[in-house]
């Protein structure tokens, strides 16, 4: 599977990651990611039959706090850090297309 990543694959992944890449960056990443994937290929050849995956080093489950009201961050403090805000909310550019 290793092999060189295609320009289409890089473009697809960049879209998924919401990253606008220059043609020069796309080309460089195609080569570098292929090199890295080739190096880690050894992992895919190891025998892991009946080996469960580890997603976390601790065996913790469902850590919950008591369901009690307690203070949280003030809305204005949080919105103060936003690039744009209006009427107590985060403001973003249009989400839906022209056909609204």
């Amino acid at each position: 599977m290793a092999g060189e990543l295609s320009a289409e694959q890089v473009a697809h992944v960049a879209r998924l990651a919401r990253l606008e890449l220059s043609p020069e960056e796309s080309e460089r990443f195609a080569g570098q990611l292929s090199t890295i994937l080739e190096h880690v290929e050894v992992v895919r050849r190891l025998d892991t039959t009946d080996v469960p995956p580890t997603s976390h080093a601790l065996d913790l489950r469902n850590v919950l706090r008591a369901d009690e009201l307690r203070p949280c961050l003030a809305r204005e403090d949080v919105l103060a850090a936003a690039p744009d805000a209006e009427d107590g909310r985060f403001k973003v550019p249009r989400i839906l297309g022209e056909a609204l």
């Binding site: 990651a17 960056e25 990443f29 080093a57």
Partner: protein, 493 residues
């Protein structure tokens, strides 16, 4: 005792705190000495992204007031500390050395920041790091590299390079870093200071900007093993604000520092000695002799599975990072670059705000999590993570602690590895396995290696094995070459 050399923060943190607590030395005096050194030399070293002199002066004055009033100023009273700039500080810019967070002021303090203040420590500023802690040299910082105080042409290591160099330069006796794959231990080794990655869950991650959440852990930098133990006692212990925080108090390591290693079973990880440079491998052999002479039972152990850790890590960490860094989308904080619709705004913001290493890891992580590749790469890496943990468990059936090099070589020249990401990643080969398993490990300055640069030796322990780890570290410190240890006083050498 008096005189400026005496109040310089290169003194032991515990000694400084004792004198401040006793009223023999004022916190303001200690702070001004630190700020003066930073002012004089940090232009060259670039340890700090930001020096918070005014806030520090207020905090130090408050410590002195408490001492004068007979109130308890805390165990680290008046000790200047530096904070890695991925730790949230309320109303103080926190950048992660990234353009995307430039100017962002968090609305809250990280738990460790609050605990340091409560203990009387005085934060002097935020230290440089590889962008979002992704790197092993501090060169991926958007604000330029930090230089190694031992040799200004070399890297301090990374990602916590600014914190390591700030301690090595004698600016502060203590600093905090974060360690996801070696980001405390590797720069500690390259700068000749002590660096500790605690057991996962011992130190709260609340307010640590997330990189790879299942691996990240905050820990101390110090000039001595004892100071590192004292700092861990202040920052460790359960925190309800972090659901992965262990329901335990901080490990009490200060009380075992004089216990020695009589009868301690020490395994030398033989697999790590083959590819390490001769000076780094030789330091481990010499360290093993020091422990054996002190009564430890030292033997070589083969744990070949650990060498697969690097490959598993470079699938798992980017995968987690690609998810964690999705939050930098130009909506809630930091940079925004406008676009005709929200998706274009997201993509342009991220293109302008992230540097090449962060983009590379986001791309890699997104790829290995994408449909068709998830199980082959990410799922398989998680199974290999289990193999690493099992291999450690086998070794810890025979041994109390393990000994290894911290790094494959001494500090490398600035620019030497920036063209080849894979070459840079290999700098973490010996530190990554402990993160995958969630175990504690620390680097102790032990010898001088190639080009007269410091070499660190790494002590590894099983989960919650901090006390045994510190016992071994204390004996190694006593047996180390004294010239291998920072601080570097009176300027770079």
């Amino acid at each position: 005792m008096s005189g400026s050399a005496d109040v310089a923060p290169v003194a032991s943190a515990r000694a400084l705190a004792a004198r401040v607590r006793a009223g023999e030395l004022s916190a303001v005096e200690v702070l001004e000495s630190a700020l003066g050194e930073i002012e004089r030399r940090d232009g060259e070293l670039h340890c700090f992204n930001l020096v918070t002199a005014d806030r520090a002066r207020s905090a130090a004055a408050e410590i002195d007031r408490k001492v004068a009033a007979g109130e308890d100023p805390g165990p680290l009273a008046g000790v200047p500390v530096a904070l890695k700039d991925n730790l949230c500080t309320r109303d103080v810019p926190t950048t992660c050395s990234s353009r995307i967070l430039e100017g962002w002021k968090p609305p809250y303090d990280a738990t460790v920041v609050g605990r340091l203040a409560a203990a009387g420590a005085v934060s002097v500023g935020k230290t440089n790091l590889d962008e979002f802690a992704m790197g092993s040299s501090t060169e991926s910082s958007a604000f330029g590299p930090t230089r190694n105080p031992w040799d200004l042409g070399r890297v301090p290591g990374g990602s916590s390079g600014g914190s390591a160099a700030a301690v090595a330069a004698g600016f502060v006796p203590l600093a905090l870093g974060s360690d996801t794959g070696g980001s405390i231990r590797q720069p500690a080794a390259l700068c000749g200071v002590v660096g500790v990655k605690p057991t996962y869950g011992v130190v709260s991650r609340y307010g640590l900007v997330a990189f790879a959440s299942s691996l990240d852990q905050i820990g101390p930098f110090a000039t001595t093993v004892g100071d590192a133990a004292a700092l861990l006692e202040v920052i460790g212990g359960h925190d309800a604000m972090d659901s992965t925080s262990l329901a335990l108090s901080a490990p009490r390591c200060s009380e075992v520092l004089d216990d020695g290693v009589e009868g301690l079973r020490v395994g030398v990880i033989a697999d790590f000695l083959d590819d390490a440079s001769l000076d780094c491998a030789g330091a481990v052999r010499a360290a093993a002799e020091v422990l054996a002479a002190a009564g430890a039972k030292v033997e070589d152990v083969a744990i070949p599975e650990l060498l697969h850790g690097l490959s598993a890590y470079y699938l798992i960490a980017p995968a987690e990072a690609s998810s964690n860094l999705a939050r930098y989308d130009g909506v809630r904080f930091g940079l925004r670059v406008d676009g005709p619709d929200v998706e274009a705004m997201n993509a342009r913001t991220r293109a302008a705000g992230f540097g090449p290493e962060v983009k590379r890891r986001i791309m890699l992580g997104t790829y290995v999590l994408s449909a068709g590749y998830y199980d082959a790469y990410y799922g398989q890496a998680q199974r290999v993570r289990t193999l690493v943990a099992r291999a450690f468990a086998r070794a810890y059936g025979q041994f109390d602690v393990l000994l290894a090099p911290t790094t494959p070589s001494v500090a490398f020249p600035i620019g030497a590895k920036t063209a080849d990401p894979l070459e840079m990643y290999l700098a973490d080969l010996y530190t990554i396995p402990s993160n995958l398993a969630g175990h504690p490990a620390m680097s102790v300055p032990f010898a001088l290696g190639d080009s007269g640069l410091p070499v660190g030796v790494q002590v590894l322990a099983p989960a919650l094995g901090e006390r045994e780890m510190f016992r071994a570290a204390a004996v190694l410190e006593a047996g180390a070459a004294p010239e291998a240890r920072a601080p570097v006083t009176g300027g770079a050498r």
